[in-house]
Symmetry: none
Subunit: 404 residues, 2 copies
Amino acid sequence: MPFEELKPLLRPNGSKIVLLVMDGLGGLPIEPNGPTELEFAATPNMDRLAAEGTLGQTIPIRPGITPGSGPAHLALFGYDPLHHPVGRGVLSALGVGLEVRPGDVAARGNFCTMDSEGKITDRRAGRIPSEESAPLVEKLAQIKIPGVEIEVRQVKEYRFVVVMRGEGLSPDLADTDPQVTGVPPLPVKPTKDTPAARRTAELFNQWIAEARKLLADQPKANCVTLRGFATDPELPKFDESYGLKAACVAVYPMYKGVARLVGMDIISFEGENPEDEFAAVAEHWDEYDFFFVHIKKTDSKGEDGDFAGKAHIIETVDAALPHLLALKPDVLMITGDHSTPARLRSHSWHPVPFLLWAPASARPDSQTRFGETACAQGGLGTFQAHDAMPLALAHALRLEKFGA
Amino acid sequence: MPFEELKPLLRPNGSKIVLLVMDGLGGLPIEPNGPTELEFAATPNMDRLAAEGTLGQTIPIRPGITPGSGPAHLALFGYDPLHHPVGRGVLSALGVGLEVRPGDVAARGNFCTMDSEGKITDRRAGRIPSEESAPLVEKLAQIKIPGVEIEVRQVKEYRFVVVMRGEGLSPDLADTDPQVTGVPPLPVKPTKDTPAARRTAELFNQWIAEARKLLADQPKANCVTLRGFATDPELPKFDESYGLKAACVAVYPMYKGVARLVGMDIISFEGENPEDEFAAVAEHWDEYDFFFVHIKKTDSKGEDGDFAGKAHIIETVDAALPHLLALKPDVLMITGDHSTPARLRSHSWHPVPFLLWAPASARPDSQTRFGETACAQGGLGTFQAHDAMPLALAHALRLEKFGA
């Protein structure tokens, strides 16, 4: 449902909605006729909620499309990633905990190797390890350019992020990575002929020149390229789109960053286990209408190819769930942002199990266990992840009827 | 997924995809609580693939819409027919094996009956049988117009196709069939005021005048009307859209023609049985990434109202399937382009059974038989036919992830 059609229907009523995301939840069997990670895990609490509530499965982006973490979460928050693209520079910055405000320009950076003629010989500087690149990023962070503020942060190995902040900047800039070796890096060029884009290109070129001076004596990482220039996409915020005061409980920077893009407050808390996260929700229960709780390790275990480990993380979430249920949410959604089957050791395109529990309003189906097979036959059917928020609002009785 | 969003994700990897289309596969029971044609057929091979793979059902165009063969195949090839329309003249030409290249103009033709005052008395010339119209089409094929090349071919009864080929032609022309009797046929008029459209209208009017001279002494078919002027829609081709070198194995001209529109090579072979078609695939296995294999007779039997005959054709395909499986495709899709229930003796709008088998990456559901009821409960859910190609690419591990 487009935001502009949804807005006139909003009816705030003090109900509470929780979106519990186990990152990369969807899985695959590791042996023929075997269970998936979620089906293998003992989840008595989720199974009870499945029996009382309604199951379904979500398509994160479009059928067959494997999402990155950014687009996958935006979709769950109700923003179709094809209609609300967020630039690569911004997602990278969020991933390392750098804030990108409207007007800031963020870019991804690579260390690269340049020969004596100024031509790139290795676009990734021999994939130098993070220990070697960390002190180089420190050097880059010292660069000062008059009139703007610049933050630089390491991502991993040869990769880093730069955020430039100041008046009158523009992200309309082309990548400097030529994508091939044997040629010099490209200068930063504006992609639109505006004063702001020309000025920002000039500022980034100054920054690159300074960076090359500082790196001149490096054997491998003696040059840099920048790409994915982008700014805060100024997405509609949760309060205006949904009438919800929303908070994020997450351990990793990326998820806090994406939550901030849609206007959520970020709750600080100690610890990193599911019960710590649920305790943080409890502590702020009265302050918010909506809580996004993010569990990272399901995805990490999936990427490690650790089937049993992923199932175990799911079990720890299930075991802690009574703390969350004790708060008596009106609507609880338990799902993933995408699938990360241990068998594939990576994100995948497979539909994602979705559990909607809303004691006052959900229509139970015949499913009694939370798992991929049950979800594929659930009462919500197969639906786009960006439809989850309207479903949540409806089950919270927060939507008027459409039309007379 | 729009092509422009899909393209940057393509990752060619040498995997092989087969799309096996049993035309008009979807069916209906002929008695209460009875099986459909597919459910009635003994299909041990497909049932095994169903158990190992994932089922679903496709909506060819939109819910409730019965497709023609052209749009139904375009949808399976990933081209939403509402966004990639192909003109009627082109589809008719393809159906009788006439090629329509970019710049050619194809039109459907009707023989009609005109009275002495030049008014149409029968828009279909008394539905003259094909034996009577064949020699008349031969006459029309003799017409020469300077500056262009013209091909005419019989369709059936009072229907034929004309293709005009030459420099500077335009398909922006209005139908000449007035849709009512008692009035003269309309002259060919341009629908856009361009020199090409004016010139092409003039050329077709000359052709019609010649046709009327040749037909003047006919008792019924003494005049013609033309409609559905169209040219090659220049669809994106399989290699650019999907990074796939694609081939078509089909017996009937229509399916070869539609496959050619999307850039497939057409494989020539002897015979017309499923094992002949699979042998043709085997012979060219190393040359292509993607094979579209078309089985016509399921549809023909459905249109004949022959329930048992349609089930038997499905059984012959199932029996031949081991030849295809021996090639070890990475992804095999078995489906129809639309439903043709014997009970309705025509194409229908019902969802179409879809089987996706991909041993390395498919998520099995709990279904163990290939049939309409099982497919409606399958793990892929109900989806648009034009999403089948992204699903195939994903299961062939040919897509990078979307966003960071």
